[in-house]
């Protein structure tokens, strides 16, 4: 029970400091909105196929996440709270707490991005349940990889725009599956048709989160 309480405390700490300044949330929100609107203006009145629609949506989501989510560990390093966390909690608690916090942010990001996209383009979604499942599984895989890599770049001296470079090639399997699943959801293909993609997403999220949990110890300790 101690472990769960520790992880929950890390999550609450992150959430509370975020709610005080709302910096990361606002950056993420503004980035996803401006990127989406740029994409929508660039398309104009042109009607694009479902494949291109879902591809554009997910590219915006992945780029927003890779730019907006790199701060969670850098801010610990900047404010000097890293040492306190290292002393008072175990590495796996920190990872679980940060993962939960990132997952919350990514779920919010996905919801906003999808709602804006669907409303502005006026796309009717024929399988909303499938779309929700795709968004949730995509968020799970995305947050697992992002949390570990955010911890990695916080350790690099010249971190700058390093997260997108490290993250995007690793997310190609995720991108391909979510794009296909989103397209099937828009077309109304149903659950059975998207089985392969959903299973791949579950596998990807499981593999990345387990690997990240094991590897996080080596990033966290000095």
């Amino acid at each position: 029970m101690n472990w769960i309480r520790g992880a929950w405390a890390v999550f609450r700490k992150d959430l509370r400091t975020e709610l005080r300044s709302r910096y990361a949330v606002n950056v993420l929100l503004m980035f996803v909105l401006s990127a989406l609107l740029l994409v929508l203006f660039a398309i104009g009145q042109e009607s694009v196929s479902e494949r291109v629609q879902s591809a554009l949506l997910w590219i915006v989501i992945l780029f927003s996440a890779s730019i907006g989510l790199g701060r969670s560990f850098i801010s610990e390093e900047e404010t000097g709270t890293m040492l306190l966390l290292q002393l008072n909690t175990r590495a796996s608690m920190v990872f679980a707490g940060k993962l939960l916090y990132t997952l919350l942010l990514v779920l919010g990001l996905n919801t906003v991005a999808v709602l804006v996209f669907l409303i502005v383009l006026g796309i009717p979604v024929r399988s909303p349940g499938l779309l929700a499942a795709t968004l949730a599984l995509g968020a799970l895989g995305l947050s697992g990889a992002t949390t570990l890599l955010a911890a990695l770049i916080a350790r690099a001296a010249r971190s700058g725009p390093l997260l997108p470079v490290l993250l995007l090639p690793l997310l190609v399997p995720l991108l391909l599956s979510v794009v296909t699943a989103t397209r099937k959801a828009i077309l109304g293909a149903g659950w059975a048709a998207a089985e392969t993609e959903l299973l791949t997403l579950v596998g990807f999220a499981g593999a990345t989160i387990s690997a990240a949990t094991l590897l996080f110890d080596y990033v966290w300790m000095d």
Partner: protein, 245 residues
């Protein structure tokens, strides 16, 4: 300099047994000479579309086998580095990744040329998003990111640890890139659509006598370049005032 003089002068040869090195070098020189001559001049079955380009099999496919081998070597040394903290392991992981990238770039180039004159003959296309081709390009991007990450960290021990974590994390996603996704898509590569890779029936008996030596020869070449690069890195480090290794 005190530390470097205290070591045996030929300490770098301890990295690779010199007898093993000589044996592999002789094997590589002989085998690859045979493969190049027999591969370019030997007789092959004339199949439509493939025709003489089938000879590329001896060069294109071993590149990918060697890349896979070096990926495993690099990941293994990254894992050992995390366990032991021995910086030589980090050098090995780095050099295996670098040689792997070289083989990958040659593999992708030979693959593009092969595809250009068989699958896409008459279309003038060099790149047509064949799944395996695209995934191979992504694999090279991941190794590119690995080296970018390395250049962002100055302290050797920390760099080794962070790079090893990224390397191992990337290895976890590689099965999706190389095995899961390509089988869900249409591909012209052998081994697509759920069938296991490269089957025995794909290869004419006469070609096996050149293909198998080619695979072994290029494995040997990869090992040769890799061990030499590790030795050079070791010597460069040893020449510094305060060696890390």
């Amino acid at each position: 300099m005190a530390t470097s003089t205290s070591r045996a002068p030929d300490a770098s040869s301890a990295l690779v047994g010199s007898r093993l090195y000589t044996a592999v070098r002789a094997f590589v020189v002989l085998t690859l000479t045979y493969v190049i001559i027999a591969g370019l001049l030997g007789s092959i079955p004339q199949l439509s579309i493939l025709e003489e380009t089938a000879r590329n099999l001896y060069f294109h496919v071993p590149m990918w086998f060697s890349l896979m081998g070096l990926t495993v070597v690099s990941a293994y040394h990254s894992l050992r580095f995390l366990q032991t903290g021995d910086l030589l392991r980090d050098v090995r992981a780095r050099e295996a990744a670098r040689v792997g990238m070289l083989f990958g770039i040659i593999g992708i180039t030979t693959g593009m040329m092969w595809a250009r004159f068989t699958w896409y003959e008459g279309t003038n296309k060099w790149w047509n998003f064949d799944p395996k081709q695209s995934m191979a390009a992504i694999l090279l991007l991941i190794y590119g990111a690995y080296f970018v990450l390395r250049s962002g960290i100055d302290i050797a021990e920390k760099r080794g640890r962070i790079a090893a974590v990224y390397n191992l994390f990337a290895v976890v996603t590689m099965p999706f890139l190389l095995y899961v996704l390509p089988r869900q898509m249409d591909s012209l590569h052998p081994g697509a659509e759920g069938s296991p890779t490269f089957s025995q029936t794909d290869l004419a008996p006469a070609m096996r006598w050149i293909f198998y030596p080619a695979v072994l020869g290029f494995f040997g070449l990869a090992w040769w370049i890799y061990t030499q690069r590790v030795r050079v890195a070791w010597l460069e480090d040893d020449a510094r005032d305060e060696p890390d290794l």
